[in-house]
Symmetry: C2
Subunit: 325 residues, 2 copies
DNA sequence: TTGTACGCGTTATCAC
DNA sequence: GTGATAACGCGTACAA
């Protein structure tokens, strides 16, 4: 691979001159410029970004840590993060923590060693202490891990409220809420808070079921829902904390011989593709994934520019009513 | 951020010595070692990988170019690629081409400028010529773009054959095949070849429908399927080229008042989550996504080590029979 | 308008 | 055992 020296040699000028035409800085005669451009072309020269990064102390690299890209919510988030990063000239390093603390710690160290310009954390399995050593710009998605690390989240409480109120308004008298692990300090737990508040307020019977630590094992989902419906045949409403869970809720309800929405009403969360692939189509709470990704990049950029960023960044959710309610 | 010099200063030794304990090279007295380690600890020192990369001429970085991570197949592929890359100490740069030639070209140049150690191409919108300038190790997924760039693929012909033969064996007399754009030179077109061969051989009426260029617009899917079933009410079998298309086929069939599998049988492709979220569960052809990702990393590593790699790498597919057939 | 020389943070080579 | 120094490829004062 050709270096700036090779280009200089071929064009019969110094490396400085080559650097100048490369970066359009200072004065260069038109003739030298074409001569240099020609040499670059001929050699297929591409400036070495590694050397540039070293000099500039800036890598133009962002790290994206998430539990797992294969989960629809995170895959969409990754898509949007990449999209907005690209627009600003940044690259994205994909880091799946797999909810494994060792791997997450490893990745955080790796990102530090690679001098990334910012980190987006959509996963956190470590103790708070371990994040404090990070001195690069950082922003978390859906988790408040430290009181000076800004976070982005959609309005989880509002989402839970919208879902629960809809079910209540439709006349449900016994509603089950399926959520992740409440011990993880995640903002999505507020959906559960809202669910409890609403159902208590209206005197509706309620049930909260946690899927357990590994939120991504789908075989578990199926069993969980089947068992729930068997033990509580009088459930007439389900608020699931993801569209995938919602999809399984639909499947198991139908399997149990229930009609949707006549016998049981179901609300999902996220509004990812799955909500439209199933039948009946799933009523859900839409998370503003595009805005989430955009905001993540924006907050990193602001921190890099030493601008003041808000600690709390909450984006609105929206109820998307379809056929399951 | 502390450098090796700071550590050396603090430990009262030379940078060489620090480098030595860092890389466990040469002889160092136990005392110096602990002294240096202590200094590193205190300063929270992390070696600068950018400087290392510059010197070693190796970035430990792979580029993954795909149309879109938000598509389930690619999100799973990305997950596995990241998994195996991590095991070998490599990082993954996420590049969504969005099927946009300009962006893809941009990303290819960017990967070159960043001196990535290898590129995995799951997208190709450019002319063959534009890929030839790539002199880093490269491997493509599901596409043969040049006769000296190794490719990985699952056995598309076999997949199409399994699907078509199953439908025929179950008694379908008029089968529709929904595929992407056949003009793109993709190996998945072999599914269509197999479909045609099988249906012709058995004298079964057939229909091939292309979804058009932008394979990822789901609103189109819905209309397409609805229209197809309306214009050809006698279709009794559908072979869809993805599980998402399969899911829409199920939805539109039920909407048209057909029973599955009594009136119409449906086979999807990929075996991603969607095939289990729908009801009835979708019969599908499983792509070995994990093996695909593993092989991609392996082939890159082999090229880096100047080992001989096979040009053609075809992995077996598997028929997963569920409830739609 | 162009060239020389230094530094970015590491590691390899050769001295001591 | 340990230290000085050159080199990786580039950008930028400063000099010419």
């Amino acid at each position: 691979m050709a270096t700036i020296h090779d280009v200089a040699l071929k064009a019969g000028v110094s490396v400085t001159t080559v650097s100048r035409v490369l970066n359009n800085r200072g004065y260069i005669s038109e003739m030298t410029r074409t001569k240099v451009s020609g040499a670059m072309e001929e050699l297929g020269y591409q400036p070495n970004e590694i050397a540039r990064s070293l000099l500039r102390k800036q890598s133009n690299l962002f790290g994206l840590i998430i539990p797992n890209v294969s989960h629809p919510f995170f895959s969409q988030l990754a898509d949007r993060v990449e999209y907005y990063a690209y627009l600003e000239g940044y690259k994205v390093l994909l880091c799946n923590s797999q909810m494994d603390p060792d791997k997450e710690r490893d990745y955080i160290d790796m990102l530090k060693r690679n001098r990334v310009d910012g980190i987006i954390m959509g996963s956190h399995t470590l103790e708070v202490e371990e994040y404090r050593s990070l001195n690069s710009p950082i922003v978390t998605i859906d988790r408040k891990i430290h009181n000076n690390i800004p976070y982005i989240s959609s309005d989880n409480y509002r989402g839970g409220q919208l879902a629960a109120e809809l079910l209540v308004a439709k006349g449900c008298r016994k509603i089950a809420h399926i959520c992740g692990n409440l011990e993880l300090q995640m903002l999505s737990n507020q959906r559960t808070d809202a669910f409890l508040d609403v159902t208590i307020k209206h005197g509706v019977e309620r049930l909260v079921v946690e899927t357990g630590l590994n939120v991504f094992d789908e075989n578990k989902y199926e069993k969980l829902l089947g068992q729930l419906l068997q033990e509580h045949p009088d459930i007439d409403g389900i608020f699931a904390t993801s569209d995938i869970l919602g999809a399984y809720a639909i499947k198991e309800s139908l399997k149990a011989g229930k009609r949707i929405p006549e016998d049981i009403r179901i609300v999902g969360y996220d509004d990812v593709g799955a909500s439209r692939w199933v039948r009946p189509e799933l009523t859900t709470i839409r998370q503003p994934i595009d805005a989430l990704g955009k905001m993540a990049i924006k907050l990193l950029r602001m921190q890099m520019d030493d601008e003041l960023v808000a600690f709390e960044n909450i984006l609105p959710v929206e109820l998307i009513e379809r056929a399951t309610t």
